[in-house]
């Protein structure tokens, strides 16, 4: 009987792992795919009529893209949670602002105006492969914030992985910083800045959201996080731009929604993003955050493959070398067994 119970226990965890790996692979595929419609958007009206010299307008266009993106992701997540019967739970979580949803509000500031905005900047000013690879820095940022803020442990293994990821970053940014790609245009630095913003933003978002995500349903948590992002752009940033500048914010919103090609790319980008977030958190519950992130980070590989298929061009050599470093670093960083996660996450009593 005992051996049958042990067999059943083994089967239970094998089933978990199999599903967890499937979700994690879906994360990587959808996240990698996101860079194609995200970049294609820049080549559609109304974004393609913005002069490459008018950096102010291009930044405003990025803000408009990010806001519409957040609304579309919210709609897809509402459909998902509605079909799973979780909308009541969404309401219950959202109204507990002082103790729970304030963390999602803060996470949305890092995730939206920094990470997604930064990614659209990186896609628009440098390119999709750069945008994908540079974001792979986010686990380093997340681990450092978790260490400083809630005193989570960083093992020797994780530190080694972080060092490899940082080396990958040097390879990615090196040629740009030493002028090899600086000739492409004097505003490429805005793309590099966007890349850094996306890595810091996603790392910080994960560290902040995990505080609330631990005690709430992840599907519901993601929807809360996008609710706050919509409010942030819609009530603060975009009205401020309209009031203080002459930038055509309303024109860009209207034309994006009325242009079928732009709207299609926007919806494709949003559906990829909505379900890559959902699949990511589902994988965490089945195989642990460590393995989920390690496999999810393969999105960099999928992004390179998708971009090569669509453009029929291979990326620059230093992006590929950087990609290898960051992927190897992710696997080294997250190689701890899932069972060790609880121990890794143990915090001191006075933490936070």
């Amino acid at each position: 009987m005992s051996s049958y119970t042990d067999y059943a226990l083994r089967q239970h965890f094998i089933r978990h792992q199999r599903w967890g790996f499937r979700w994690a692979i879906w994360t990587a595929v959808l996240w990698g795919a996101w860079y194609i419609p995200g970049t294609a958007l820049w080549y559609e009206y109304p974004y393609n009529i913005i002069s490459s010299e008018d950096q102010g307008q291009r930044l405003v266009a990025t803000a408009v893209m990010t806001w519409i993106h957040a609304i579309a992701v919210f709609i897809f997540l509402a459909l998902w949670n509605g079909s799973l019967g979780k909308l009541k739970d969404y309401g219950r979580t959202l109204v507990r602002f002082r103790k729970i949803s304030k963390w999602y509000a803060l996470a949305s500031l890092f995730g939206g105006p920094m990470a997604i905005f930064g990614s659209y900047m990186a896609m628009g000013f440098v390119g999709p492969v750069f945008a994908a690879v540079t974001s792979l820095f986010y686990p380093v940022v997340g681990a450092v914030i978790a260490r400083l803020w809630y005193h989570e442990k960083i093992s020797g293994q994780a530190a080694l992985g972080m060092a490899i990821i940082i080396m990958g970053g040097v390879v990615i940014y090196g040629p740009g910083l030493f002028g090899e790609v600086g000739n492409e245009g004097s505003y490429v630095w805005l793309g590099y800045l966007g890349g850094i913003l996306s890595a810091i933003g996603w790392g910080a978002e994960g560290a902040v959201a995990s505080r609330a995500m631990d005690v709430t349903d992840p599907d519901v948590g993601i929807q809360c996080r996008f609710s706050f992002e919509i409010l942030f752009w819609g009530l603060l940033v975009l009205p401020a731009i309209m009031l203080l500048t002459e930038q055509p914010v309303w024109f860009l919103i209207q034309e994006t929604l009325l242009t079928p090609a732009a709207l299609t790319w926007m919806l494709l980008a949003s559906v990829c993003h909505a379900f890559c977030y959902t699949a990511f958190y589902k994988s965490f519950s089945l195989i642990g955050v460590s393995r989920g992130e390690a496999i999810g980070n393969l999105y960099g590989v999928f992004a390179v493959i998708f971009v090569a298929i669509v453009t029929l061009e291979l990326p620059e050599w230093y992006f590929l070398v950087g990609l290898v470093f960051t992927i190897v670093g992710s696997f080294v960083m997250f190689r701890e067994p899932a069972e060790a996660v609880a121990e890794l996450r143990s915090v001191t009593e006075n933490a936070g």
Binding site: V289, S346, E349
Partner: protein, 82 residues
């Protein structure tokens, strides 16, 4: 679920799921699996720990006994659940 487990200290998943379904006035196989997944998620995140397991010979299903971890208690304090 965390609040229930904090009240019960240590409890088998079938009992915890019964209590949660009564609390939210839910029934059916979908919600049963929904709460099982929640317990798996909490265990995977390190908020609760699996203390024991046994095989239910009637349903041929594994049943786990859970307890709140120190980290889970800390997160409950952080988020006002405790």
């Amino acid at each position: 679920m965390l609040v229930l487990l904090e009240q019960q200290q240590i409890e088998w998943d079938d009992r915890l799921i019964d209590l949660a379904m009564q609390e939210y006035e839910l029934e059916g196989r979908y919600w049963l699996n929904h709460f099982r997944i929640i317990l798996d998620e909490l265990a995977s995140a390190g908020l609760i720990t699996r203390e024991d397991h046994r095989l239910d010979t009637v349903t041929d299903r594994l049943i786990f006994q859970y307890a709140l971890s120190g980290f889970g208690r800390q997160r409950m304090r952080d988020t006002g659940l405790l």
